[in-house]
Point group: C2
Chain length 242, copies 2
């Protein structure tokens, strides 16, 4: 079985990416990060999803991006924007975490090289997204190019490392449709940037808005909110709910 | 004053790079890493050097690359090779830490972006070096290209980030000569991959060999070994020695 390192945040996109990579026959080494994010609840989701899919290994690496600050996701003094008009929102929002995907992919690259894996999966998408520069196809291509010069990959006999982004050109609705086909249980996933203590999504941040739009466009209810059918706001189901 | 993020390992190369960046008028934000390296003594050196040069800030970020293993520098079960013939040594040695410079530069990029700095310094060199792929000019160029697509740099009004590698085409002897001109106190630096508990260099690893060769070619004694004039093996001077 071919090994792949896979970035698993615990959100809808990375869970779908995991299902796709499994369907393609990869043995998965999933990597999550406790980086000082305010929505560290997503790591609980990541653990459920990793266990559910029987990944070969799931590691959670810890470091403190909050020390640098500069983002609503890592700095408590900066509020997560709510109810932005996603169709009109331009520029890079304050929830952008500087160089986050570069750092995450760099760690995936390190692990892949030790594992002698030739494949890395990341669930970025560049259609229904928050406008983060490190979700764009041109970034991914440049990272892949760099990765093959940074490591034993690309040296004689080293092979090549490929960064897979199966969602990059899909809308959120298409991602959900693809995931449903593959049997992804989105009730296990957690997308919100600003959940409450009980893991209940805020329903108003960019990520919640994009998620709700995706389910709405498919005419289906988000299984994370099925316990309260009147309430479109997803809630992370905890182990006792599953 | 222009701000620069600078990778400071505590070794000879990064100390020289710091002196060069200071001489160029940059305000320095120095970044070191406790990544599970066996030679974590270098962090003591980094702290002395940062204080000596009056950097604006010095941060030490912690994460566990030893969890991935795969290198003599992070895995206790793998011995650091000694007395290799550096003129004949080919390939990538076992002291290579997969994707280390990619990870280090990614964190420097994150910090630079938060600081709104446009310059990152790293003391890699590709002449008298251990054969690590992530010290080569083509890697640095690819990283810089990627960095400008990963971040707000390279977007409208974002400016460009530059990765400075002032040592990349210098021999170790030339680096030392340059540093001496700038008044670098190499007695504060620590190069060894495998120092003993007292911070005494082994004198036999690749890094010690390259360092000793550099001083020998300049016909000068390594100030880190001046306490024992008969002994060419450098020792990290601790605060009480300085």
């Amino acid at each position: 079985m071919k090994k792949a390192a896979l970035l698993l945040s615990g959100g809808l996109d990375s869970a779908t990416t995991l299902a796709i990579a499994k369907a393609q026959g990869f043995e998965i080494y999933a990597l999550s990060f406790a980086y000082g994010q305010r929505h560290k609840r997503e790591l609980t989701a990541a653990q459920h999803i990793a266990a559910h899919y029987g990944v070969r290994e799931h590691r959670v690496l810890t470091f403190d991006l909050a020390a640098f600050g500069g983002s609503a996701l890592t700095e408590n003094g900066i509020a997560v924007p709510k109810d932005r008009d996603m169709d009109k929102a331009g520029g890079i929002p304050i929830t952008y975490v500087p160089a986050r995907n570069t750092i995450f992919l760099s760690f995936a690259l390190a692990w892949a090289e030790v594992l002698k894996a030739y494949d890395i999966f990341i669930g970025v998408n560049a259609l229904d997204y928050s406008g983060y520069p490190d979700c764009r196809p041109e970034f991914i291509r440049a990272f892949e190019e760099m990765a093959n010069l940074a490591t034993a990959y690309g040296t004689e006999g080293g092979g090549r490392i490929t960064i897979h982004t199966p969602l990059i050109q899909l809308s959120k609705a298409e991602i959900i449709r693809k995931g449903m086909e593959l049997g992804v249980d989105y009730g296990m996933t957690m997308s919100c940037y600003d959940p409450d203590e009980e893991g209940r999504a805020c329903g108003h941040c960019d990520s919640c808005q994009l998620r709700m739009k995706g389910f709405r466009e498919n005419g289906i209810q988000d299984p994370a909110s099925r316990e309260a059918a009147q309430d479109p706001v997803p809630r992370l189901r905890l182990p006792q709910d599953l």
